[in-house]
């Protein structure tokens, strides 16, 4: 194993992108992810890459569109308000069947909101960042190490399925430092980019990258073909993690930074004799529906914990077919829940301490 390095989450995003062979970053600074631009501004020129500070988020996402259309790996990053601005471009990228990676280091909202960590862009990320029939893959790391692994995988998934992939982090993960090993990523076979609009010296018919289809049937066919790929993504790309769910009566469902706070609470609950467990979706789309449905046959109750007002609750209810009660605990606006608060909720659901 390579020697571990101590790095901030935001820097790890940049380093992992470079190691994934990405040489083009287009962004506009915003707290709490600015260290990423700072890191890439220093590093990209050293590896023959480009780190470009665009005049706005709208501009940055459209630069990604143009760059990735040429077959190069490209990515952009922002935090909540800036990601909203990118939504039109994301829809165009999807409509053009282009791969790219989008990073959202979330902060509190709505509006300009605050600058402290939040998870209140869950619905935006998993349901509709942009218009039209669409999905994209959403990866939610919980550890700085996982940022490194998932950021590397994100580019591969994007290329394999010709889709944007979002790395959905939050301010705490972006700001915190943990040891990281960049060697931990798995190698995958990648398709050739036969669709790329790049120079070829008239050796083949030219490629056109486009998202406009005037004929309804033609447009329908492009959407149907895309949904076939989504089906393959749902079959092949689901990732999740479980902790003490084997005999759990209360199963807490949480992702990202919140999941590790829940883990501390679950451990404390176990010490009190309460059979709690943690289910952590790593892919928020595709959502680990089957795995949660399986848990619904074993556990008594679910508790969703998020740094928002309960945006994932419906996904858990749908996945489990409302077989078991689903309760919610969350803090929002940039407030990080404490293990004690979560433990108190688990104890309450257990009908007190045993």
């Amino acid at each position: 194993m390579a020697e571990k390095m101590l790095m901030k989450g935001n820097e790890v995003i940049g380093e992992a992108a470079i190691r994934a062979g990405c040489r083009y970053f287009f962004g506009y600074p915003i707290t709490p992810q600015t260290e990423l631009s700072e890191y890439l501004a220093k590093k990209m020129p050293k590896v023959g890459g480009l780190c470009l500070q665009a005049e706005s988020e709208v501009s940055a996402i459209n630069m990604v569109l143009g760059c990735t259309a040429s077959g190069e790996r490209a990515f952009t990053s922002s935090s909540s308000p800036g990601v909203s601005l990118k939504s039109e471009g994301v829809s165009y990228i999807i409509g053009s069947d282009l791969p790219c990676v989008i990073v959202n280091v979330q902060r509190g909202g709505p509006g300009l909101g605050g600058i402290q960590p939040a998870q209140s862009d869950y619905l935006q990320a998993t349901k509709a960042l942009g218009h039209g029939d669409m999905h994209f893959v959403v990866l939610a790391p919980a550890y700085v190490q996982e940022i490194a692994t998932l950021m590397g995988e994100a580019f591969d998934i994007a290329d394999i399925y010709r889709t944007p992939v979002m790395l959905l982090a939050d301010g705490a993960l972006g700001q915190m430092m943990e040891p990281v090993d960049f060697e931990a990523k798995r190698e995958r076979a990648l398709p050739e980019k036969t669709w790329a609009a790049c120079g070829h010296g008239n050796k083949r018919k030219h490629n056109i990258v486009n998202s406009l289809y005037i004929e309804p049937e033609t447009l329908e066919n492009t959407v149907l073909a895309r949904y076939e790929r989504y089906k393959a993504i749902e079959e092949n790309e689901v990732q999740y993690d479980e902790y003490m769910t084997e005999d759990a009566e209360i199963c807490v469902v949480a992702y990202g930074i919140t999941a590790r706070i829940v883990k501390t609470a679950v451990k404390a609950a176990r010490e009190m004799g309460i059979k709690a467990g943690l289910f952590r979706p790593i892919t928020l789309w595709p959502y680990p529906k089957k795995q949660l449905a399986g848990l619904a046959d074993k556990v008594d109750k679910f508790l969703v914990v998020e740094m928002n007002m309960g945006q994932m609750v419906d996904d858990v209810k749908v996945a489990t077919g409302c077989k078991r009660p689903v309760e919610f605990f969350g803090r929002t606006g940039g407030v990080i829940p404490t293990p004690d608060e979560i433990l108190a909720k688990i104890v309450e659901m257990n009908g007190g301490a045993k």
């Binding site: 705490a172 700001q175 915190m176 430092m177 590790r260 990080i336 293990p339």
Partner: protein
């Protein structure tokens, strides 16, 4: 297992001190995490940093109930003294905090780190003096190990920095208060 909270004013090297503990922990094979308070902070504003050094994977990176508190100013002392767990330790820069802990269920240590820094031509290095003192009192790491870790990241063209860091560390380690 140690949940450590370092708190003071921006500019005192709180985040740097936290990073040195985490770096040493990582080199010692422990699980570590470092989380700064961030926001519209600036020199002279409040600043704190959660540091965890553990034998197993770390859950919450946010330290709300520290085993060890380093207080580099009075507002931090007032805010966090009551949060320290029973049996925990508080380290206070007594040059800047004119208060003593009234708790009898914790151990409190006082070191005039800022004065010691100024007297020894080490202005701005109270943080490293404090590090030497807490390493000695807590036994988190040996002095030699920590010293090597502290100076390991210093590039060759800044070699003179190793000398002052070592000097500051030794003052803290040798302080009998």
């Amino acid at each position: 297992m140690s949940n450590i909270l370092l708190a003071g004013f921006g500019g005192q090297g709180i985040l740097f001190a936290g990073k040195q503990i985490v770096l040493a922990g990582m080199r010692d094979g422990k699980y570590v995490s470092w989380l700064p308070s961030y926001g519209p902070e600036m020199r002279g504003g409040t600043c704190n940093c959660s540091v965890i050094v553990e034998d197993e994977p770390i859950g919450s990176p946010l330290v709300t109930k520290p085993d060890i508190l380093l207080a580099f100013n009075t507002p931090s002392f007032d805010k966090f003294e009551s949060k320290v767990v029973k049996g925990g330790m508080i380290f206070v820069d007594s040059s800047l905090v004119n208060k003593k802990s009234e708790r009898d269920d914790i151990q409190a240590f006082y070191i005039p780190a800022t004065e010691l820094a100024n007297e020894n031509d080490l202005t701005g290095m109270a943080n490293v003096i404090m590090l030497g003192y807490i390493i000695k009192k807590t036994g988190l790491f040996s002095e030699e190990f920590f010293k090597e870790s502290l100076t390991s990241g210093i590039p060759a063209h800044k070699a003179h920095l190793a000398e002052v860091n070592n000097k500051a560390l030794a003052i803290g380690f040798g302080y009998e208060g």
